[in-house]
């Protein structure tokens, strides 16, 4: 038997924008086992619900993660609306859908950039992030914030996008789509990218289910599951197909996310075409009393929210199970047996969001 050694990976590592620590047990150059250790970003936000009233907690829950902040806020709003039995106006539902898809666009472009950076393709990284800036500009024009928006409220949204703004956005997306296609063709056709990603980090269908993978990890293993099909917000009125991959490897996960970018363009176009006129919020009176589960599809996969209130203005319990938390067991699984040099890429292919994971 060859000699075993343990190599620490993280918390500070050039490829990681965020701290996660892995103890890698190596046998020569092969990883035999990976033991994750988290807690560097743990703040205790679920507990903070006891100190903030349920309207104010919105601003805390949005700051669980700066990348999918809109969707965390939306999940919270949907949960409380469900407990209090509030039906929000249709226009608010469509606005939420549009902002959700814009978040997905910016998150996927961000991830493509980080992936390119991880295998040393610097110019590709810069191009992805340049395109992402256009979306951030749209966010700034419509909400006022670049990464944290605070436009959700219980009972609707706080800001409206008028129709001329929506049309401008669609024109911008039309122009962008061509550019993004050129960019993503590099990922799909360039042999340096294929050499690093193809056949690496295979997560089979069975492993994906047993390890509870979510989102693109699941879909890249050929399982057609997308929480958006449940029809929350305005997704019920929108026609889209679930994107799946079939090779179960890192390349398939990259492909799935790239195709989701174009799907998001499509969903935004449909939503803008269908958005009804009307109010954007309803008044909410009283305090939440009861419990509710909400599931959402975030850029990284399915998120589960659970809230329980007891009729006071402070909730009893707020629970957010974020997609990266669910994907860590799959990460451990795909790391087993991989080359040591592939570890950074494999950590990135789950699209880790550590501040989500640890809350």
């Amino acid at each position: 038997m060859s000699k075993r050694s343990i190599v620490p990976f993280g918390p500070q590592h050039p490829v990681l924008p965020e701290p996660i620590h892995l103890d890698l047990v190596l046998e020569d150059e092969k990883v035999v086992e990976a033991i994750p250790s988290i807690g560097f970003v743990h703040r205790g936000l679920e507990k903070l619900v006891e100190k903030r009233n349920f309207h104010d907690y919105m601003y805390v829950i949005e700051r669980i993660c700066g990348i999918c902040s809109f969707m965390h806020g939306m999940g919270y709003a949907e949960g409380i609306e469900r407990i209090m039995d509030v039906e929000i106006p249709d226009r608010a539902k469509y606005l939420r859908t549009i902002w959700c898809e814009m978040s997905r666009l910016h998150s996927h472009l961000l991830w493509l950039g980080l992936l390119a950076d991880a295998f040393g393709f610097e110019s590709l990284f810069m191009h992805c992030w340049r395109m992402r800036e256009t979306i951030l500009d749209m966010f700034e024009a419509s909400t006022g914030g670049r990464v944290i928006f605070s436009v959700n409220k219980i009972g609707g949204v706080l800001k409206d996008m008028d129709n001329s703004m929506l049309r401008t956005f669609v024109d911008m997306f039309d122009k962008m789509e061509e550019e993004v296609r050129q960019l993503t063709n590099v990922f799909l056709k360039d042999y340096t990218v294929a050499n690093r990603l193809k056949g690496v980090g295979i997560l089979t269908k069975e492993d994906a289910i047993i390890n509870g993978a979510v989102g693109p990890m699941m879909r890249a293993a050929g399982i057609a599951t997308d929480t958006r099909k449940l029809g929350y917000a305005a997704y019920g009125d929108i026609d889209f197909d679930i994107i799946t991959g079939k090779d179960c490897d890192s390349f398939a996960r990259c492909e799935v996310r790239i195709n989701e970018i174009f799907q998001s363009f499509n969903i935004i176009r449909q939503a803008v075409a269908k958005i009804p006129e009307g109010p954007i919020a309803v008044d909410v009176k009283g305090n939440p009393n009861g419990e509710a589960f909400v599931r959402l599809e975030q850029p990284r996969g399915e998120a589960v929210f659970y809230f329980r209130g007891d009729g006071t203005q402070f909730l009893n319990r707020a629970r957010v199970r974020t997609p990266t938390f669910a994907n860590i067991p799959s990460l451990v699984k795909i790391l087993e047996g991989c080359d040591f040099a592939d570890v950074p890429i494999l950590v990135l292919t789950i699209d880790p969001c550590v501040s989500c994971t640890e809350r």
């Binding site: 509870g212 599951t225 589960v304 659970y306 938390f325």
Partner: protein
Amino acid sequence: MREAYKLTTIEFADLSLMALEMRGIGARLSQICSVRTKDGFDLLYSFVKDYDFINYKVSIDEDTEIESISSIFPNAFLYENEMSELFGIKIKYIALDYKNKLYDIAVETPFK
């Protein structure tokens, strides 16, 4: 449209049986969480099979020791470690037990 989901209450002794049943139908473990109640905890186990969202609620009191389901669903170890560290729920046979050092919190846990 709001998602309809099932919420069934079971006894803590039936946990492993329930997990085996879920594994048998090919569901995946979506999450486990715990909620503090007046005289103990509510544990919520959520599973997803295709688009069905299946939930089980187990009410236990503070001293009850439950069995881990990490031998049936390997990804349960993270949730169970989290519960035992933050809520002080006694869980035996966790596959990878961090011994209440998952988050490594400075203040005293479990929270009362």
